[in-house]
Symmetry: C2
Subunit: 134 residues, 2 copies
């Protein structure tokens, strides 16, 4: 069911420093920051030849990653995103298997403008998994 | 400098349950477990179309991931691995930029039989980064 790994998201306390490190020290292609007010984050996408890294930094007072950074002040890997062809079919298969979908179970439009869902980390080896319909 | 994302490694408390979840619930291609006594882990590789997920479980009494699982009993993302063409050149560039290489700075042979190094998470946004020469 799952397809490609769309991205690995890393929450960072200093977006400029993290972007510079990926650009200058690791020599990767780093895109300009994008504010995503609907998601409470500013993101920097890093293009690798086969997938993307998504650096996340809180935007606004009610960011969903503020708590994560409070617990992990140096930053850390926040979630991984797998691509699916049909997000509603994926949701139904997952919930039938006992997995919990975060929120009300309705896909939202993610940072790439496509429908996304998040699965409860407790149901997936402690890992926050995002599914994105591509 | 960095190339493809070679894999995302997830430490799991129950390797059989995690492998079954990826195979049966997420519908991914899951390979048989491999013991890696030199690394103190048993690994299960999951093939995605563009990269791999590496499930890790402690092997033996002195596993390097035992502490991680003690702190994260449900499991969690342990490290990400980027490919490089020349691991010695990568090491020299990173240490010149102030990054710390774990251990004595000499590449070891990783789970894929290729030279690897790990970078100190504090120097990389709280993320344990493995570099693998391909």
């Amino acid at each position: 069911m799952i397809g490609k790994l769309n991205h690995v998201a890393i929450a960072v306390p200093d977006l400029g420093a993290a972007a510079a490190q990926y650009r200058d020290t690791l020599g990767a292609h780093v895109n300009p920051p994008q504010d995503e007010p609907d998601h409470g984050v500013t993101v920097v996408f890093i293009d690798l030849p086969n997938t993307k890294i998504e650096l996340l930094h809180p935007l606004g007072d009610d960011s969903p990653i503020a708590g994560f950074l409070a617990k992990n002040p140096s930053g850390g890997i926040h979630h991984i995103c797998y691509e699916v062809d049909d997000i509603m079919a994926a949701r139904d298969r997952l919930t039938a298997a006992g997995a919990r979908v975060l929120g009300d179970g309705t896909p939202k439009i993610g940072a790439h403008g496509k429908p996304v869902l998040f699965l409860h980390p407790k149901d997936f080896t402690g890992t926050l998994v995002e599914l994105e319909q591509v």
